[in-house]
């Protein structure tokens, strides 16, 4: 099997994978980073969003081998010394979740949005940017509020 190496949450990791191994499976099964979720597995729901070289990517629709040499950030890589990332803290503060299954993807997409569009986000922009992230518990009201507040604090 081909050997790959990438930086995940700042740490260099290596592994052997089949060509068909998806990035999300490498993260979850090989590295035990189960914070990245598989919801739909058809690139619709966004629960699997991670950052690859600074950009949000659906890790269920990326080959691990194609990320050889890349720098990957997952939900586990956001907190610093036990302090939540401002976007995580905003989701807690604004109750931007119910069951929490979609939350890692929501947060990774929200941070990608701030990276591209800045810290001041209006509601319409946030809703457009969250098109690829689906929550099945409840409405998006608190998620939108959390993203807006978290963005301002980043």
């Amino acid at each position: 099997m081909p050997a790959i190496s990438m930086k995940v949450n700042g740490q260099v990791v290596t592994g052997e994978v089949e060509a068909r191994t998806l990035l999300v499976d490498f993260l979850r099964s090989n590295l035990g980073l189960t914070g990245t979720h598989v919801g739909c597995d058809t690139s619709q729901c966004g629960a699997c969003v991670v950052h690859v070289d600074g950009r949000a990517v659906k890790s269920c629709t990326a080959l691990a081998i194609a990320c050889d040499g890349a720098s990957v950030t997952t939900i586990e890589g956001l907190a610093r010394n036990g302090t939540l990332h401002p976007m995580q803290e905003a989701f807690r503060e604004h109750h931007g979740l119910q069951c929490g299954f979609c939350t890692p993807g929501m947060i990774m997409s929200a941070i990608d949005t701030v990276n591209r569009r800045g810290k001041t986000l209006d509601e319409a922009t946030i809703r457009h940017e969250l098109e690829g992230n689906i929550c099945r518990c409840t409405g998006y009201q608190n998620i939108v509020a959390a993203v807006q507040a978290g963005a301002a604090k980043m």
Binding site: S43, A56, V57, A66, E129
Partner: protein
Amino acid sequence: MENFAYHRPASVADAVAAMKKAKDGKFMSGGMTLLPTVKQGLAAPSDVIDLTGLKNSGISVSGSSVTVKAGTTHVDVATDKGIRQVVPALSALALSIGDPAVRNRGTIGGSISNNDPAADYPAACLGLGATIHTSDRKLAAGEFFTGMFTTALKPAEVVTAVEFPVPAKAGYAKFPNPASRYAMVGVFVAKLKDGSVRVAVTGAGPAVFRVPAMEAALARDFSAKALAGVTVDAKTLNTDMHASATYRAHLIGVMAKRAVEVAK
């Protein structure tokens, strides 16, 4: 998902050579269509030839044309300041594809090579009269898109760039499928600098197509009201769980008017 041999060539020549050697190879760019297709078992290539190693991305804008290298992602087209200045309709179209994570990864070369009947870029290519540059030749958009998921590309031919003429004005309007954001109907209208008008429709038929009757009406008067009464025959259009052919024919009229209204 069936396993395959993976290649990541660093040059177009190596990519073409790898494809020629493969039994049933597929080129992959962003993988936004190919990977879901392979995951669902709808395709099982012997070899996947990843074109991202070509590092063939970038945009150049001149007074008369916009050239987008094949590996350029949708987000880079959507946010390019030069494109926004000379063909804002192309920026808006790129921003309407899929969702942010898909736009971060999907590329123009991959999109047009796949030629999904509901993809957005084919409408811009045909609507503006783009020239498709490949590893072998240059093709007019009208020759490139040949049918449902088919193009004029030979098996080991790679798209390298898309060259769009800068129009006098252009607009794009689509009725997106609420789940996938693919176009149920999308209409791209352009008035070119030589005064000619092109109208290209995606999402409605087996592949992107032009509407000569609308082009003639808009050439006389480039306004939404000029399209009143100009209809498209539903006979050749798609019917599926999302919309009937008759409904799609109706949507073409509505989207064409909206595209003219937003054209700039």
